[in-house]
Chain length 410, copies 4
């Protein structure tokens, strides 16, 4: 008997806002109807704004983020191409694995899990080996809660005079962390619907620079379902090469409306504020993040290291069954040694406090020695201060008119 | 720009469970279709089980709880009838007001807000005045968070040899607090859809004993829309005298399924556990409840008294605007002096902790001196202990099969 | 096993438009939240526009249309008041019954079912009896598909120098047929949510002239739940005297947006066009309407008279079970002798053709001698002509840009 | 201003049943939660029952049917493999195109559009060329409304002693037409969610024989996102290799419940009955189907040939804009020369009549000379006869109890 909503704090899928959920609840429609093209063309144009992409285009496939990883490789590269990659978590690990299975010649740098992309090592490789055709970065490693410096990688590429393509996995960063495709010179950016876009899984999204689009015309890798060319030809007239998942497209419309209405800078600031609160809580528990230094801290997911002898799977199991709260478990190398709190999408301060409150109980039950309520108290202090600062700006809720009305409650 | 769900902790309407919400999302249908009667008859039969009513029947009107108050009076009593009532909060106050406006001769006992029904005073009145035709009790006074002893009132009536009808306002008690219509000899029980039934407002529900049904045949009060007779005639063939609000009836079906599946004893126990946790939190803050003694404590709503100089409306305003959390304000005599936390319906332990966490921030911002995190920590301690006891029972989530699967998460 | 949507052609509830249905699917919210008043005030203002009411106000209760009938009487009249009414169908019959039960002194004119309000008889009564305090008209009698001339009644009242109030039951006319509260001098107009407003049942709606509002201050009838005064006091600050059914209010918001966007004149014209098509079909079958002359024809519901020996209940039963189509049966005096096709709300030409197609099969199966397809063909001819005329106006779908796009379908 | 539902008669996506639509409206959940595996394992087991597959397994990918086409090829075949294919419509054409782009050595037989798979030519090829590794059949060609004889192809393969794999595109046949994977010896069956499964697009579904699964272990084609091995490893523990589109999986659960409750034989019979009605209508118009002989007639889609000089795109355009009805246009070689009526999924007799009624008006407006109402009348005659036969079986609606209740309608 499940009573009460299960509280969801995995780093994707994230809670879907009501307005988005309603937008997806549509009857079926003819995807070749004459009024669809306008809808599609506007949608793609607004989607590009979230990538901060003007010079290029975005593509949306029915698929998962993994499908977008594959589309990036099979369209822009050819078997045998030499590429520079690095591994610092389960998801960067899986992308390397995919690249090898798809026939790329991967130069892979392994980094300690808890750090991010090794910019200096990349710089050396790029200077030493001009045959590198693409450089891969996992912008936000969801398994460890580490955000890497994409701009620095671009700078290293430029300094080395590399003409390689820059591939970025932005699945758990785009639409929540700061991401600037044009400005950072990202050629292929990969995203999925179930993270910052606050939708169910089911859309594989790519942001492509003009250079990436040109490369796709030259690739000799066989591909058809995920081929850019077929999608572009159809998109050019506001259509798709096969039946699109219309509910998700309507949901994306509503999600874009909300993101762009809030403004991407404010979206980024909000995720930072919520993450800071959570980190204050973790610190108050006396625990460490998986991310080894503040510059790696992720604003969308915090992976918390557990003391020796405490099983991360047990923490998640207790939280789920006893407290109806879902956290992410440890993956790959850190399985059992961390648990992860997702704080992205449609979350706010009180949601994050409930995550901390539930985590405290599960940690205590699992044998961690911490002061009950301490994490909540530390986050509360931070949030009160942060929101008081917000509140001092003139805003709708602090206005004279709102006040009297509430006072009149009887 | 509203980001993240607004957290709802008013004492009604309460969060609607997903399964109930889905059940209400239906296309329109012919309310005279031949398969409707079976649906209606089963629904009414199961609804009576929640009232623990076998000797009598339940009626459901399109309306609010206030409509059910009026139906109770106009159907079972006649203008000029002498009735015994008491006031100890805004809702008992309003029922007295209605009774007078509808022409009853009300003997009213005023009690300090924070206490409940004055059983001893009732007993004296009943012994002294055999002309009293009905005795009214507000089972759970939502404005003060006070639960009264209905069984004791019945006992007093019996001891006084009264043949009056016993009217009970169970709007914020039925389907969440212990309520036993047959056993307690309640003749007219009034409920609404938006509290323990976890539905939107819109259904006025009455539980009627055989004695109440007989009284309704004798009443001379004019009534038509809310007349029992018309409703009973239609209900007898599984129909309604006018177009019923079908989405709410489908929602009620789903709500009853959940309540009866959980079991009414467990529903009551759950509400008690959640309320206890909240009360531990309030105590840790150093604040008092509006309810003046533990025997009055309500398990569905806690009204918290504020220190002098702190405005309850400001607490609610800050919680709503700054922390996206809705609490109930003070009503009537206690306006501005209390704020109320609803903990009924589809809530669980972590929901209650988030209520306490949000309240702490709003109280601190409003100038209350309390230890941040203290209420959360006190509630956590209680919940951990309570749920560990639950967990030691053999249950689905503690089983051998569930364990390994979770461990296998990668 | 029900396969495929049941096709709904009862004269209420009517199909709910997708956009309205989505709007109702909301989580619960605090009905005393500070941003609710703006929502409520705008809603009531726009609702008045559908009534074409500027001099007065509209009120919305949780209830059914029957509740609105009662609110009209108990608020504006006192027991013993003399009122002029007439009966020409089940719903006018029931209003007379209610008026008597609530203590009015009813002068009732019975008219053959199939005709409407007897204007000349009313005129005579009004000239003869200046003590008449209110005149009642059922604008659209849903049981017989008869629309009455409200404007003519007002004229008769004025010519007789009557200062009586004019009460109009507009449950199945307002928001679909031409209705002009100010212009026609209607004092009390009664509506429900489940007809032209395209919502589920659950809202009792009243449009009130200033004169009606003044009369309500003088009435001595006891009432509380449906009292105008309590509702007005709350509405004045954008609130309600008890918990409102928020999903229906959000649905009403969406419904008003659609009605006002289409424009009330176009709403009326559309209902006329659809009704005309249906009537062409009925005529082609060789059957008669219950309405005895064209001036009584209703544009929201057509009641079709059946040949002797054919049971209307059988027609409905066959349609429902065999063809998954719901029609309205005969009520009261015409039970078994008619069946009714509702064509109001979110319907269009093809919906009406499917109603005719289903009806033809059920009629044939029930033994009616008609030419299969004849009704459909006659309606098609009318619709083709009517829509071609529409199409000759410059419109979005006939534009140059829409054409090529559709041609490009591959 | 769109008034009234747009009537949807494209051959996919098809109308989604209410119960399925409600099932998809879920909040997000942790796809690694411990109770998910049971859900997933049951889902896949029941899905196999729709394929009538016991010896093998089904796989479900986030993707479209095109993705399933590609997964079939890249997993079970290697570049350079010789395969036997045929083209008789746009979709069989596209699969040939994909096979060539993915590097297969395609032996392709072109057949007149309107016929189906050339069994005799296949038999000759198979006898002559033992190097053929796979034989492809488009079971139901959606562009022409042609169903092919898969069983005969299997027989030809067996007679030729071929050990090739049999690939079948069942996108518009599985879950609506008779399909028997085990019995017919189909090795790879491809389906999508948006046709017989009555869901939105977004799931690529494959049914795989043991032989196909073994072949997949030997294929040297690079693949990762759509690799069977990764999916099987995850499925074996009730999981997915990446975040699954949970709303669609919940919808699939509801869809399977309905299909299996109706029974696959009854599902097939219902589609046949509806298609027969539509074909009677088309014949009455004096028009021909694109399918050149009755043995090719498809029970899920009817492509109607237009007289010379009539533009199929105009028919669709008029139907869509003027009559709010979506039909499928002609694709590829028959663009402009046919229009298509989809009659699969959650449709019933009255839906099909409304399709015919709308089509008649659009055809007349586009200049086709036909008798108005003639198609509707012919289909009505067929449906009345067919359903009367159904009705003579003892059923719930013909029972004694249902009758009286309906008779009692007043």
């Amino acid at each position: 008997m499940k009573i009460g909503t299960t509280h969801l704090f995995v780093p994707g899928p994230t809670p879907v806002p009501e307005v988005v959920r309603r937008a997806m609840n549509v009857p079926m429609e003819d995807h070749r109807a004459p009024d669809l093209p306008d809808f599609v063309l506007d949608l793609l144009a607004d989607l590009a704004r979230v990538f901060r992409l003007r010079e290029g285009r975005v593509l949306v496939y029915p698929g998962s983020g993994t499908g977008a990883w594959e589309a990036a490789i099979t369209n822009c590269l050819s078997r045998g191409d030499r590429v520079l990659m690095s591994r610092y978590g389960q998801f960067s690990h899986l992308w390397v694995d995919m690249a090898r299975r798809l026939g790329l010649d991967v130069v892979c740098h392994d980094v300690e899990w808890g750090e991010g992309v090794p910019v200096e090592a990349y710089a050396q490789e790029l200077r030493a080996d001009p045959s590198i055709r693409a450089v891969f970065v996992t912008h936000n490693e969801t398994a460890t809660g580490v955000t890497s410096d994409v701009r620095a990688v671009r700078q290293a590429m430029d300094e080395a005079g590399s003409d390689a393509l820059l591939f970025v996995d932005g699945v758990s960063s785009i639409a929540s962390l700061d991401f600037r495709q044009d400005e950072w010179g990202v050629d292929v950016a990969v995203a999925g619907s179930q993270k910052g876009f606050m939708l169910p899984a089911g859309l594989a999204i790519l942001g492509l620079s003009e250079k990436a689009l040109a490369a796709a015309e030259r690739s000799t890798t066989e591909r058809c379902y995920l081929a850019f060319r077929d999608m572009i030809t159809a998109n050019d007239v506001g259509s798709f090469p096969y039946t699109p998942p219309m509910p998700l497209l309507h949901g994306l419309r509503a999600s874009l409306d909300r993101l762009l209405d809030e403004g991407m800078d404010d979206v980024v600031a909000r995720h930072h504020r919520l993450a800071e609160g959570v980190r204050h809580g973790v610190k108050a528990w006396g625990l460490d993040l998986c991310a080894l230094a503040p510059r790696w801290y992720s604003d969308t997911v915090s992976a918390v290291r557990l003391p020796d002898g405490v099983d991360g799977a047990a923490v998640c199991r207790i939280a789920y069954h006893r407290y109806r709260t879902s956290f992410g478990g440890g993956l790959g190398k850190v399985a059992g040694r961390v648990f992860r709190i997702g704080h992205l999408g449609d979350v706010n301060e009180v949601s994050c406090l409930s995550a901390l409150a539930a985590a405290e109980m599960a940690l205590l039950d699992a044998g961690v020695d911490l002061e009950p309520g301490s994490g909540v108290a530390a986050a509360q202090a931070y949030f009160r201060q942060a929101l008081a600062a917000e509140g001092s700006r003139p805003g709708p809720w602090w206005s004279a008119t709102a006040g009297p009305r509430l006072t009149a409650v009887t």
